[in-house]
C-alpha cells in the first residue's frame, strides 16, 4: 500500500475533472496541491465523443440572452430542473465559452471572426418562438476540442495526473456533525497495488453509466463507478430513473450522430419519406428536445412506419445539405456512417434509432458542487461535477449541448469550492483501515467461488435493460427488468475471472465495473417503477401524463444493508422554483 497526501484530489479526467483541476490549481488565488486520478488516460475520456456544441447566449449571430437559455433548460427538463441552478448555468455559460476560447479552443468562426453558433434541439428565441442559434461549436468534434484544450492547459500548468489509477472507495471520517470526506482509495492498474490519497477535498467527476444498456453511445468504460462508490457509502443518488435516449444513434450500433446535423438542417423521415416530426412538434419539428424526438421515432417504428427490411429504424436525411456542409461542419459523423454502415450521407439517408446516452440523475449536489448526504446537509470535503452529479440542471431531460456546458460551469465551481475548502480546513484523520473494503472486494473477485462469466451477466443485463427499461416503460416491463437484474445480482456472487495476476488485470477491472452496473441498473428500474407518471425522459405507457400533484419532486435513493443485495430506500426532495411556473410542454 502506498500513501499520498494532497489538498485536492480529483477523480476522473474528462471535461468536468480537468476543468475542476484547472480551477483549483490556477483560479483559486492560492495553489492547493492538486492531483487528478483517472482509470484511463485523460484524453481517452468520453467528453471527447461529444460532437455538436456548447450553448451560451453570446448573441454572436442573432439576438439571444441567458434568461431565454434558462427558460429553455427548465422547460426542456420538464420542470424537474432546480431553477436556481439552471440560472447559474445559463449566466455563467457565456464566460465558460469565452474561457475555453482564451485557453485556445478552435471554435468555428463567423465571417466577422467571432465564435460561430448553430441551432440545437430545444434552444429557442423568446421562450419558444423559434429555434435560436446558441450552440458554439468546433465542426462536429466540439467535445474532442474541449477535452484536448483542457488537457493542453493541464500540461501548461503542470497538473499532476495519476493515469490508470482506478478509484474504488472514498474515506469518510465520522465526526459529531456527520461524515467528512478525507480521502480516496485507488487500485493501480499497472501493478495491482493499492494507494490511499489523503486529501482535504475530493472531487468526483467520473461520468455516466451508459453501459447498463446494450445500444448506447457510451464508451465501454462508462460503468458508473463514482456513483456506485458514493451509493455504497450510504449516500444518496438522485433522479436515477431519468435516462436520456439520444434520437440519432447509428441503427443497430448506437454510435452517436450529432443533433447538430438537424441543427444544420437535416430531417428525420419515416419509411414513406414523411417528415414525421411535423406531427409531433409543429413549431420546431426536428429540433424538439431529445425525449420528444426519441419517443416520436419509437412510435413511428412501433406503428409500422419504420424503414429498412425489418422496419426497425427511421432515416436521417442530410442529402440536401450538400457535400460542402457535411465535409466541413459534420465531417466526423459523415465518416462514421461511411465506416460503420457503409452509407454515404451525401447521397443517401442514414438509418438511425434512439441510443442510450446520458444520465440526468446522479450524485446530488448543490450549486457549489458540494455533495448532499440528505435533503439538507452536505458531506464536507466531497464534491461532484459532470454527468456523475445531479445539480439538478437537467431535470427530467437534458437539452443538447447542456452537458458540455454543465462540465465547464460546475466543474469549475466544484474545483474552486474544493480549493477554498482545502484552504480553510485542517486535514482530518483517515478512518481506521481505509483500504479494507477495497482489499476485500479485489480478493473476492479473484477468489474461486463460482463459474459465472462476467460477459454473460453483463450481456443479459444490457439485453433486459434495452428491452424493458428504455424509451417506453410500463409496470410490466419494469417488473420484468427488476426481476432480471436481481437474478443477475445473485449470479454475480458466483463470478470467476481467469486473470489472477497483478499486472494490468483488466479482467478484474471488468468484473468490478459490472458490480457497479448491476447496482445502478436496479436503482434506475426501482425509480422508474415508483414514478407513476411520464415526465421528460421517463415515459410510462401506463401513466402517459405528467402528474405535478404527486411527482413534482426529485427521487432520492439510499442503499440500505451491506453487499450487493442491499435494499433501496426511496425518499423525495422538493424541486427549487424561482420564476417559472410549470406549464404544459409543447413545441
Amino acid at each position: 500500500m502506498q500513501f499520498h497526501k494532497y489538498d485536492v484530489v480529483i477523480v476522473g479526467a474528462g471535461g468536468a475533472g480537468m476543468r475542476a483541476a484547472l480551477a483549483a490549481a490556477t483560479e483559486a488565488g492560492h495553489a492547493p496541491r492538486t492531483a487528478v486520478l483517472t482509470k484511463l488516460y485523460p484524453t481517452r475520456s468520453h467528453t471527447g465523443a461529444a460532437q455538436g456544441g456548447m450553448c451560451a447566449a453570446l448573441a454572436n449571430v442573432e439576438e439571444d440572452n441567458w434568461e431565454w437559455h434558462t427558460f429553455d433548460t427548465i422547460k426542456g427538463g420538464d420542470y424537474l430542473v432546480d431553477q436556481d441552478a439552471a440560472e447559474v448555468m445559463a449566466k455563467e455559460a457565456i464566460d465558460a465559452v469565452l474561457d475555453l476560447e482564451k485557453m485556445g479552443l478552435p471554435f468555428n468562426r463567423t465571417p466577422e471572426g467571432k465564435i460561430d453558433q448553430r441551432r440545437f434541439g430545444g434552444h429557442t428565441r423568446n421562450h419558444g418562438e423559434a429555434a435560436v442559434r446558441r450552440a458554439c461549436y468546433a465542426a462536429d468534434r466540439t467535445g474532442h476540442m474541449i477535452l484536448q484544450t483542457l488537457y493542453q492547459n493541464c500540461v501548461k500548468h503542470g497538473i499532476e495526473f495519476f493515469n490508470e489509477y482506478y478509484v474504488l472507495d472514498i474515506c469518510l471520517t465520522e465526526t459529531e456533525n456527520g461524515p467528512v470526506c478525507t480521502g480516496a482509495v485507488a487500485y493501480e492498474l499497472a501493478t495491482g497495488e493499492l494507494h490511499v490519497f489523503q486529501a482535504k477535498a475530493i472531487v468526483f467527476a467520473t461520468g455516466g453509466f451508459g453501459k447498463v444498456f446494450k445500444t448506447t453511445s457510451n464508451a465501454h468504460t462508462l460503468t458508473g463507478d463514482g456513483m456506485g462508490i458514493v451509493y455504497r457509502k450510504g449516500l444518496p443518488l438522485e433522479d436515477m430513473e431519468f435516462y436520456q435516449f439520444h434520437p440519432t444513434g447509428l441503427a443497430g450500433l448506437g454510435i452517436l450522430l450529432t443533433e447538430g446535423a438537424r441543427g444544420e438542417g437535416a430531417i428525420l423521415r419515416n419509411a414513406s419519406g414523411e417528415r414525421f416530426m411535423e406531427r409531433y412538434a409543429p413549431t420546431i419539428k426536428d429540433l424538439a428536445p431529445r425525449d420528444i424526438v426519441a419517443r416520436s421515432m419509437a412510435l413511428e417504428v412501433l406503428e409500422g412506419r419504420g424503414a429498412g427490411p425489418n422496419k426497425d429504424y427511421v432515416l436521417l436525411d442530410c442529402t440536401h445539405l450538400g457535400a460542402e456542409v457535411l465535409e466541413t461542419k459534420l465531417p466526423d459523423i459523415t465518416e462514421f456512417a461511411r465506416t460503420y454502415l457503409a452509407v454515404d450521407p451525401v447521397t443517401e439517408p442514414v438509418p438511425v434509432y434512439p441510443t442510450a446516452h446520458y444520465a440526468m440523475g446522479g450524485i446530488p449536489t448543490n450549486i457549489h458542487g458540494e455533495v448532499l448526504r440528505d435533503n439538507d446537509n452536505v458531506v464536507p470535503g466531497l464534491y461532484a461535477a459532470g454527468e456523475c452529479a445531479c445539480v439538478s440542471v437537467h431535470g427530467a431531460n437534458r437539452l443538447g449541448t447542456n452537458s458540455l456546458l454543465d462540465i465547464n460551469v460546475f466543474g469549475r465551481r466544484a474545483g474552486l469550492a474544493a480549493a477554498e475548502y482545502a484552504a480553510n480546513h485542517e486535514q482530518l484523520e483517515l478512518p481506521a483501515e481505509p483500504t479494507r473494503l477495497v482489499e476485500e472486494q479485489v480478493a473476492l473477485v479473484l477468489s474461486e467461488h463460482g463459474k459465472e462469466r462476467v460477459a454473460d451477466i453483463r450481456t443479459e443485463l444490457q439485453a433486459t435493460m434495452d428491452a424493458n427499461a428504455s424509451v417506453y416503460r410500463t409496470e410490466e416491463t419494469l417488473k420484468q427488468a427488476l426481476h432480471d437484474v436481481q437474478a443477475l445480482k445473485d449470479r454475480y456472487a458466483h463470478i470467476s475471472v481467469q486473470d489472477k495476476g497483478k499486472r494490468f488485470n483488466t479482467d478484474l477491472l471488468e468484473a468490478v465495473e459490472l458490480g457497479f452496473l448491476l447496482e445502478l441498473a436496479e436503482v434506475l428500474v426501482v425509480g422508474a417503477l415508483e414514478r407513476k407518471e411520464s415526465r421528460g425522459g421517463h415515459a410510462r405507457e401506463d401513466y402517459p401524463n405528467r402528474d405535478d400533484t404527486n411527482f413534482m419532486r426529485h427521487s432520492m435513493f439510499y442503499k440500505q444493508g451491506d453487499g450487493l443485495k442491499g435494499d433501496i430506500r426511496l425518499d423525495y426532495k422538493p424541486v427549487t422554483f424561482t420564476r417559472y411556473k410549470p406549464m404544459e410542454r409543447k413545441y
Binding site: 485556445g104 468562426r109 465571417p111 468546433a138 501548461k156 462469466r453 433486459t464 405507457e541
Partner: protein
C-alpha cells in the same frame, strides 16, 4: 403496445457455449502475446472467433477476452475511433481496432481468414497489446502543446478569421493514439525522435493565428531530435485514423524553420 420481454435465461456456466451471431464465419485471430509476469519472450497465439463482416476487429478481441481467454489485455474505450485507446498493428499496419471492419480483411474465395494483431512498435510492451504510453506523452508535452499568448487578454473572444481558423484545422483532429509515431521507422530506430504526433501538435499551434509561441516551439523542433529526422516515408499519413495529412504538416513545420527570420 410494449410488453415485457423475457430475456432467455442461460445456464451461465463457464462451460456454456459463447454466443454466435447468425451468419458468422470463423476467422483466425493470431495475437502476439506477452505477459512479463509469466513469459520470457513474446509468443503468437491463435484463436478461432466467429465474426460477421460488419464486426470491428475490436469485437473479435472482446470475444477472445470475454469467452476464450480473460487474460488477453488491451486498451479500449469509445469503440468508434474517437478516444485513441486501441491503436495496434493489424495485419502489419497501425490501425485502431474499433475502426477496422472484418469485411475489409476477409480472404478471397474459400480460404479461412487470418487476422494478425500485435502491439504498436517502438514503445515498451507492458502486457499483450498494451504498451507504455509515457515516452509518447513526454514527446507530446515537450513541444509546448498549448496556446501561448502575451499581454492582456481581451474581454470577449479573440477575433480569428474563418480562413485563419481553417489554416490549422487538420491538425486539431489528433487524438493522440500514437498510430503515426509508432509507424515511423525513424522513431523505431532512434527513440529520442519526437515523432510525428508531437510535431502534428506543434503544428496545430504554430499555425494558429492567435498563438505567439511559434518561435519557442520551432527552436525545440529545430533540435537534433526534431523535424529534420523525418525522412518523408509517409507511413504516418497512411496510419492516421483521423485522416490527418501528417507528413504534410511536418513539411510545413520544416518550411517554417527554413524561412523564419
Amino acid at each position: 403496445m410494449s410488453t415485457a420481454t423475457v430475456v432467455e435465461e442461460k445456464s451461465g456456466a463457464r462451460s456454456g457455449q459463447p454466443p454466435v451471431a447468425d451468419g458468422a464465419v470463423t476467422v483466425t485471430v493470431k495475437i502476439l502475446r506477452f505477459n512479463p509476469e509469466v513469459d520470457s519472450e513474446p509468443r503468437w497465439e491463435s484463436f478461432g472467433v466467429p465474426a460477421l463482416p460488419t464486426d470491428r476487429v475490436l469485437n473479435l478481441l472482446h470475444y477472445v477476452k470475454w469467452y476464450l481467454d480473460g487474460t488477453l489485455t488491451f486498451r479500449r474505450s469509445c469503440a468508434h475511433g474517437i478516444c485513441g485507446s486501441d491503436a495496434m498493428q493489424i495485419n502489419g499496419v497501425n490501425r485502431l481496432a474499433c475502426k477496422v471492419l472484418v469485411k475489409d480483411l476477409m480472404s478471397k474465395g474459400d480460404k479461412q481468414t487470418t487476422i494478425t494483431v500485435a502491439p504498436i512498435k517502438g514503445l515498451p510492451v507492458n502486457k499483450d497489446l498494451l504498451v507504455d504510453m509515457e515516452p509518447f506523452m513526454e514527446a507530446f508535452k515537450a513541444v509546448k502543446p498549448f496556446l501561448i499568448t502575451y499581454g492582456n487578454e481581451p474581454t470577449r473572444e479573440r477575433i480569428q478569421s474563418a480562413a485563419d481558423r481553417e489554416r490549422f484545422d487538420d491538425t486539431t483532429k489528433c487524438i493522440l493514439c500514437a498510430c503515426c509515431t509508432t509507424s515511423c521507422p525513424v522513431f523505431w530506430n532512434e527513440g529520442s525522435y519526437f515523432g510525428p504526433a508531437a510535431i502534428v501538435n506543434a503544428h496545430r499551434f504554430i499555425f494558429d493565428s492567435r498563438d505567439e509561441g511559434a518561435e519557442e516551439r520551432l527552436d525545440i523542433l529545430n533540435d537534433a531530435e526534431g523535424v529534420w529526422r523525418c525522412r518523408t516515408t509517409f507511413n504516418c499519413t497512411d496510419a492516421c485514423p483521423r485522416g490527418i495529412q501528417v507528413t504534410k504538416a511536418i513539411q510545413e513545420v520544416k518550411r517554417a524553420l527554413l524561412f523564419r527570420r
